[in-house]
């Protein structure tokens, strides 16, 4: 059966409904907890194994040794000297990152943390190169 303007009743119904869109940026979009956003770094956990650098599909991560290394712990008498724990930084190139979070998955010490940040646009390109210390 062909009925002209079959969709008309549906259109009328929608006149009394709220808009389906969200008034961004005044209203934030709902983000699910597994959303893969900006990757954060915890320097105290990093052991510098470079696993994340190796798996990154877009070469967005660098793990250089920190400029200021913590001093070696004081030697306890009768025991061999303990070497200082090396400290590492993380350079995250947000413009290279594809936000796959493979580095978070591979990290053996959970030093890389996935956050839900998604508003990462910048007018200055240099600001996209984040240096976590």
């Amino acid at each position: 059966m062909k009925k002209p303007a079959r969709v008309f009743s549906e259109v009328i119904k929608h006149l009394f409904k709220k808009p389906a869109t969200i008034a961004y940026p005044f209203e934030k979009a709902h983000i699910f907890p597994n959303f893969r956003g900006r990757i954060d770094f915890d320097s105290s956990k990093c052991i510098g194994c470079q696993m994340c650098v190796r798996v990154c599909p877009s070469k967005a991560i660098e793990i250089p040794t920190s400029e200021h290394q913590p001093p070696a712990p004081a030697q306890v008498e009768g025991q061999p000297a303990v070497a200082a724990k090396k400290k590492f930084d993380c350079i995250m190139k947000l413009d290279h990152c594809v936000y796959c979070a493979q580095c978070v998955e591979i990290c053996p010490k959970k030093a890389l943390i996935m956050t839900q940040d998604y508003e990462l646009a910048q007018t200055d390109k240099a600001k996209l190169r984040r240096h976590y210390k």
Partner: protein
């Protein structure tokens, strides 16, 4: 009447992606059409050779935005077959769930695009609003709306919790109700019939001859579906119908896609109801045993084929992708012939083209200032030359 040839594209308001159609017109009627590809080549296959199998996963996902799961699943099936890895049952079920959710989102997107092309923008707005529900399902389960990255070598990356399951079922129930309304609308609304019936005819024998795949083939009455013909993942355990239609036109393609949506909802519920227990991934070594492998997969647009050759290192030696649009483009040239110029955007949109998946090789010669097509001999000569630079001599082969 004298014939004139007009180019449609590569830059044209009716096309979403750059490709070129040379149309021979007699008045407003098309008497011949040729398809020219090569405006969207990205060198994905070559890039894959320089990355590890794990890194390639995220590259292959970006072959296409709409069928990102299709391409990774085909690729990963190849890798797992070469590595002789036993993927857990639960992982296969989750992959199937994503495959069907992806089909739902792709078909709803197409329904919107078809509505837009036929000038029925109300349908476009409503289907795209409802498509948000399935995108929400995907975001809830995997974390992202488009590039889900759910696959990993040896399984999947994220498990499904009971709350997520309930969330998906609730959204799917809403979509079932809406889709039934759209099917009724498409069958009863005279605008849809007037705009799509007898447009872009593709008879069964031509569909077979030109190798049409997916909904394009099924709308010509050709019962061809990889999920039925050679079941992969867990499709052999699912109960679903193969949808075909015999009107051979754009209307048939619309009906096939709309009814496939209903089948997909059914499958999503089946997978969620009997999700097998167990681990979601197994460990696979970085280096993959040497060998070669071909797999196919029913992507929302049709059959997707991947070929993979490994040489025992952690990087593939060769990866070849045959996206469904490439198979369907042959039919587009036929469908356009004899039709009207005003129907061209609708006929092209009816195969759900994805040009960036399809484009594989284009040679731009800056010295001559034109695009060239290489013959087999030329390609052979060039590849021997390239390997000689790397220190491998193939001249005597």
């Amino acid at each position: 009447m004298s014939k004139i040839t007009i180019p449609l594209g590569p830059q044209h308001p009716a096309l979403k992606e750059p490709e070129n159609f040379m149309l021979v017109l007699e008045g407003e009627q098309i008497s011949g059409a040729t398809v020219n590809l090569g405006y969207n080549h990205r060198g994905m296959e070559k890039a894959a050779e320089g990355r590890t199998y794990l890194q390639n996963l995220y590259l292959i996902e970006r072959v296409c935005g709409i069928c990102s799961h299709s391409h990774t699943t085909t690729y990963i099936t190849n890798v797992e077959e070469l590595a002789k890895c036993e993927t857990p049952k639960r992982a296969l079920a989750i992959r199937t769930l994503f495959a069907e959710l992806e089909r739902v989102h792709s078909h709803l997107l197409w329904l919107g695009v078809a509505g837009y092309e036929m000038g029925f923008e109300t349908l476009f707005m409503y289907t795209w609003r409802d498509r948000e529900q399935v995108l929400d399902c995907l975001e809830m389960l995997s974390g992202n709306r488009v590039h889900y990255s759910i696959n990993t070598i040896g399984g999947v990356r994220r498990d499904i919790t009971p709350e997520q399951k309930a969330g998906v079922v609730q959204r799917i129930n809403y979509l079932i109700e809406r889709t039934n309304y759209y099917i009724k609308l498409a069958l009863e609304e005279p605008t849809v019939a007037a705009r799509t019936a007898n447009v872009g005819k593709l008879p069964l024998d031509v569909a077979i001859e030109r190798g049409a795949v997916g909904p394009t083939a099924r709308a010509s009455g050709l019962a061809r579906d990889v999920r039925k013909d050679e079941p992969y993942l867990i499709y052999n355990e699912l109960d679903f119908k193969l949808i075909t239609h015999n009107t051979n036109d754009v209307f048939g393609r619309l009906v096939v896609r709309a009814l496939e949506l209903v089948e997909s909802y059914k499958m999503i519920k089946q997978v969620l109801n009997d999700l097998p227990e167990g681990p979601i991934a197994v460990k696979v070594p970085m280096r993959i045993a040497p060998g070669e492998c071909v797999n196919h997969y029913e992507a929302p647009r049709g059959e997707d084929i991947h070929y993979l050759k490994s040489n025992g290192t952690d990087k593939p030696e060769r990866l070849k992708v045959r996206a469904p649009t490439l198979a369907n483009l042959q039919s587009v040239a036929y469908m356009l012939e004899g039709g009207w110029l005003a129907d061209v955007p609708l006929v092209i949109a009816a195969i759900d083209p994805c040009m960036s998946c399809t484009d594989r090789a284009a040679v731009w010669n800056p010295k001559k200032g034109k695009t060239e097509v290489y013959s087999w001999e030329d390609l052979r000569k060039l590849s021997i030359e390239q390997y000689r630079k790397r220190g491998v001599d193939f001249t005597r082969l």
